[in-house]
């Protein structure tokens, strides 16, 4: 009898520890980035790091560590991706949730899932061999590896997230809302635009936030398809280099323990905080939504 009790306690303790491990992991990731990144500022001034536009850590004599151009680049490709993915994603979600017959819905959902499962490196590859040349030809550019190319590919990568989360939100709108609207003589389209979508608004915002998070954090696609020119971009036809691409390119070559090495953790921390912020907004919006519903 006593053995049983001890075993139960032990089992509980084991599961408790595994449950708590995710908190430890998230804290660990943050602290690792923070403390390694902080060492950058032994050699680099805070203001030069955040507001400098020139990133050239391997320059002879006077290396520079300005991250502004890559932050702007990251925002730019993300913005471009969202301009494409938000209308397309919400439109598709509305179609699946509200218009498609059950049979079509059951076919579309696995298709979205398969799209979500395509490795980012394969999308990046198609950016080089298929979309990049197409972009170059369409706009008469010498190379198609630019921010526009990256934006379109990132849109493809964030579409599944936006579609599936938005669709859940739209389907969660109570039936009575729609029925009341129909009873008042509203058409299908009017009901969707005036009743269903506004009721699902917070869920849709959350889906967009998660999509943005996906786009900001994506590495391989932008690394392969945006050309990686390290300068302040002036438009979508410029080649850009994002935060993620910079880490991917430079971490392999940098000597351990140098200012350059720590600077890569510092930009990793910036990246972490950006995606953390985006997720937090999604979380707050969803929490508010749940409150509103009860």
């Amino acid at each position: 009898m006593n053995f049983k009790k001890i075993r139960e306690k032990g089992v509980y303790l084991f599961f408790f520890l595994t449950g708590i491990s995710v908190v430890v992991l998230l804290t660990g990731i943050f602290l690792m980035l923070f403390f390694n990144g902080l060492k950058t500022f032994r050699d680099v001034r805070f203001i030069d790091f955040f507001f400098g536009t020139i990133w050239n850590p391997s320059a002879y004599g006077e290396p520079s560590y300005g991250i502004l151009s890559m932050v702007v680049s990251t925002f730019m490709v993300t913005l471009g991706a969202m301009l494409i993915a938000i209308p397309l994603g919400i439109g598709t979600a509305a179609y699946i949730a509200d218009i498609a017959s059950p049979k079509i819905r059951e076919t579309l959902k696995p298709i979205i899932e398969i799209l979500a499962g395509i490795p980012s490196v394969a999308i990046g590859f198609l950016g080089i061999v298929l979309l990049g040349p197409l972009v170059a030809r369409t706009f008469g550019l010498s190379s198609g590896l630019n921010a526009l190319n990256g934006s379109i590919l990132l849109a493809v990568m964030s579409l599944p997230t936006i579609i599936s989360v938005s669709e859940d939100a739209i389907r969660a709108v109570p039936r009575d809302y729609k029925e009341a609207s129909y009873a008042l003589g509203a058409s299908r389209w009017t009901t969707l635009v005036r009743v269903t979508l506004p009721a699902a608004f917070s869920g849709i915002v959350a889906s967009v936030m998660l999509g943005i998070g996906r786009a900001i954090g994506e590495t391989m696609t932008v690394l392969m398809a945006t050309g990686n020119a390290i300068a302040m971009p002036h438009g979508f036809f410029d080649s850009v280099r994002t935060i993620t691409a910079t880490i991917a390119i430079e971490l392999g070559e940098v000597p351990y323990g140098t200012a350059h090495y720590y600077a890569l953790f510092a930009i990793g921390a910036v990246l972490f905080l950006m995606s953390f912020g985006v997720n937090l907004v999604a979380e707050l919006v969803t929490a508010k939504y749940r409150e509103g519903k009860v």
């Binding site: 049983k4 075993r7 089992v11 509980y12 599961f15 595994t18 449950g19 708590i20 491990s21 995710v22 908190v23 992991l25 998230l26 660990g28 990731i29 690792m32 980035l33 390694n36 397309l88 439109g91 598709t92 699946i96 509200d98 498609a100 899932e113 398969i114 799209l115 499962g117 395509i118 490795p119 490196v121 394969a122 990046g124 590859f125 198609l126 080089i128 061999v129 298929l130 579409l159 579609i163 058409s187 389209w189 998070g213 954090g217 590495t219 391989m220 392969m224 993620t244 880490i247 991917a248 971490l251 351990y256 990793g268 990246l271 972490f272 995606s275 953390f276 985006v278 997720n279 979380e283």
Partner: protein, 282 residues
């Protein structure tokens, strides 16, 4: 009245069009990779080593490397993830700590994969002295898939009716006995589905393994978990951007892309079919 009718048709047409575009995107991806890759993929391509500076030959070590690292990921992340899910679904009471755990899981799911790579370098490669190896890379990918596995496993556990648990408890079983005999067996297919989907993501990831163990080229297969390895996604990355004769190896890159996408696709399909059968059963 006519304007209204027009708006109705136009609006709904627009929504249908966006769905069509999304399906077309997937079709273009699959079509391009399949048509240009299928000419390259042969039995020799699958079982040969790369030859002559990777300009000829096959991708055998990359396939084996990807399978090897995914096995390490599985061994690490499934037991840990399922246990955490059991804690959340069976033991945890709603409260601040549980909320903190759930928030952490959602945030971990949003952490960029390259950040997992940085963490893997500091913790596994340097901290635990595993070096750049299959083990380091597998563990890094394991951390990456953890939030996914926890979330899907918890969902699977939640679908098991409460009466199953109560039935066991009423017969005098302890909590653990009831979970072990009456809950886990019924949640198993759901857990499996989620895990396969999570692992298929891990198998296709590149960024987390860049600095934790993947190698440009190796003349032989990894002999232990402490060796470096070649992997399909990284091989595709090299062939399409880092190779000295990029145009010449383009067909090989297409072949690699096809094998990678097919591998991930088959894992996804297994999971989707499994889930479909499951839904019919309940």
């Amino acid at each position: 009245m006519r304007l209204k009718r027009f708006r109705e048709i136009f609006g709904i047409g627009l929504l249908s069009l966006s769905a069509v575009i999304v399906v077309l995107i997937l079709c273009v991806i699959i079509f391009d990779i399949t048509t240009k890759g299928s000419g390259v993929v042969s039995w020799e391509f699958l079982v040969d080593f790369p030859k002559e500076g990777m300009t000829r030959g096959g991708i055998f070590p990359a396939i084996i490397g990807t399978i090897f690292v995914t096995i390490i990921t599985t061994i690490f992340s499934i037991p840990l993830g399922v246990s955490a899910a059991i804690y959340l679904s069976e033991y945890a009471k709603e409260g601040r700590l549980t909320r903190l755990i759930r928030t952490s899981i959602r945030n971990l799911a949003g952490v960029p994969s390259i950040v997992y790579g940085l963490f893997g370098v500091v913790l596994f490669v340097q901290g635990l002295h595993f070096g750049t190896s299959v083990l380091s890379a597998g563990l890094t990918l394991g951390l990456l898939t953890l939030p996914w596995i926890i979330a899907t496993s918890e969902e699977a556990l939640k679908t098991v009716p409460q009466s199953y648990r109560e039935g066991a408890l009423a017969l005098g079983a302890t909590k653990w006995q009831s979970i072990y005999s009456n809950v886990l067996p019924y949640a198993l297919p759901g857990i499996l589905t989620g895990s396969i989907l999570g692992l298929s993501r891990a198998a296709g990831e590149t960024a987390p393994i860049l600095f934790t163990g993947v190698a440009f080229f190796l003349p032989k297969l990894p002999g232990s978990v402490f060796d470096q390895f070649m992997a399909l996604p990284y091989h595709l990355y090299i062939l399409s951007t880092q190779h000295h004769a990029i145009e010449q190896v383009r067909p090989l890159a297409y072949g690699t892309a096809l094998v990678l996408v097919a591998l991930v696709f088959m894992m996804n399909l297994t999971a989707i079919i499994l889930r479909y059968k499951l839904r019919k059963k309940f």
